[in-house]
Amino acid sequence: MIGGPGALLVGGLLLFLLLLLGTRGIAAARGLSSKSDLPLHDDAAEIVPCPPEFALQIFSRADWEFASAIKSHKIAKLFRSERKAVALLWVRQTSAAIQRVMREHAQATRGSGDLEFTTEVKLVLRYAELMLLCGALFLAIQSAGPLWVRGVALYADSLSQHIADVQQAFSATTARREISSIGSS
């Protein structure tokens, strides 16, 4: 009924979770007195580990063009490695901020008697999506650099725009046909 790989997965996952519980349990129990279960304030809605202008600059081509205009291989190499380190740090900070949001949510609502299963599942799914996005960004920056990530994003953006245009044109044509067929009948 459950094969070897399935059993390994369940057993391994359980061991991993127990290890986490064992190491975090003591810290969580100690930190309880300092943590409040009061609800989040609405003004805590922002999630900005660093200013957006700064984040925009990390993936911008302008600095790269400036550095490459100097025509020094060393400076170009140094720029790439520095920019990569900053971009990775930014992803880590953003990911930590997202984790903090979810942790605060869990701590604020864990005692609530009205916790809704569907709402919680939706939030967890959104959280998982964001963590996956951060993971993918981290891998992409690590393997190809922040400029490539921006290039891919630009390509994806233009592609999605193109698809949206085609979709819109298709919808408009279909609607026109439907109207004309209704008119003729």
Binding site: L8, L18, L21, S33, S36, D37, L40, I47, L130
Partner: protein, 253 residues
């Protein structure tokens, strides 16, 4: 020789656990767990007697005892759930829903497999059936442990020990039982000695954590009104949405 030493010291630890449980009034707080330990302890002489003097019925006695402890093990999981989440009714409801979904899924899969291959139930070895039941039990503990971690539920020393010990024993059982029927002689020998060794480790974990009573920490305040929860959930949703926009704005033009 080693297995004999493990067996005898295991019996000694079980007796010590029961004595400490009764003296420290832990048995009244975790009655199912202490019933489980008592059952394991008191079935030992029966198993020994059957093995020594009635070998023809040993197999039946062994599997009856094994299934009784398996059923009580399921009740231990329920006890962990009941005690751990008693101060967190909402989290308990979420865990209950996930568990119900999981059991429904396991049941549906079992029925589907029995439907497509009706001989499975007749041909399956007892270890296969026990392995399947233990796997469901392990999945239930996975859900519980994940809920405790996700909601940062504070666990007292006793409950943490109970969960760690039983979870460890269960995870090694699931892995051993899945491979024992297909393994070669050497691996089977290793797995059959790993099983009592993991139980021995679990007993030591229980003894260390259940030596005296330690209450579960209770949070100071809680969100009571439905509007409060809705407000917090909406704020979290907004913040996550904001994070998504922030990520997209930085990377996209």
């Amino acid at each position: 020789m080693l297995s004999q030493a493990l067996w005898w010291s295991g019996v000694a630890i079980e007796i010590l656990l029961l004595v400490r449980g009764l003296r420290g009034k832990l048995a009244s707080r975790y009655p199912i767990f202490y019933c489980y330990i008592s059952l394991v302890l008191f079935q030992e002489p029966f198993l020994f007697a059957a093995y020594r003097w009635y070998p023809q019925i040993y197999r039946n006695v062994y599997w009856t005892a094994e299934f009784l402890s398996l059923m009580l093990g399921c009740a231990v999981v329920f006890e962990i759930y009941r005690v751990g989440l008693s101060a967190f009714p909402g989290t308990a409801r979420v865990a209950r829903n996930v568990l119900a979904f999981l059991f429904a899924l396991a049941l549906a899969r079992g029925i589907a497999e029995a439907w497509t291959d009706p001989r499975w139930w007749m041909e399956a070895a007892t270890t296969d059936i026990e392995g399947a039941l233990r796997a469901v039990e392990a999945l239930a503990i996975v859900i519980l442990a994940a809920s405790f971690l996700f909601y940062s539920i504070p666990l007292g020393k006793n409950l943490r020990g109970l969960l760690l010990g039983y979870g460890f024993f269960l995870s090694t059982s699931v892995i051993s039982l899945a491979f024992v029927s297909t393994a070669g002689n050497q691996l089977r020998h290793f797995l059959s000695s790993a099983y009592p060794a993991s139980y021995f480790i679990a007993l030591n974990l229980w003894l260390a954590h259940l030596w005296s009573y330690s209450p579960n920490p209770v949070p100071a305040a809680s969100v009571r009104l439905e509007q409060e929860y809705q407000r917090v959930a909406a704020a979290t949703h907004r913040r996550l949405q904001g994070a998504r926009g922030y990520l997209a704005r930085a990377v996209r033009p």
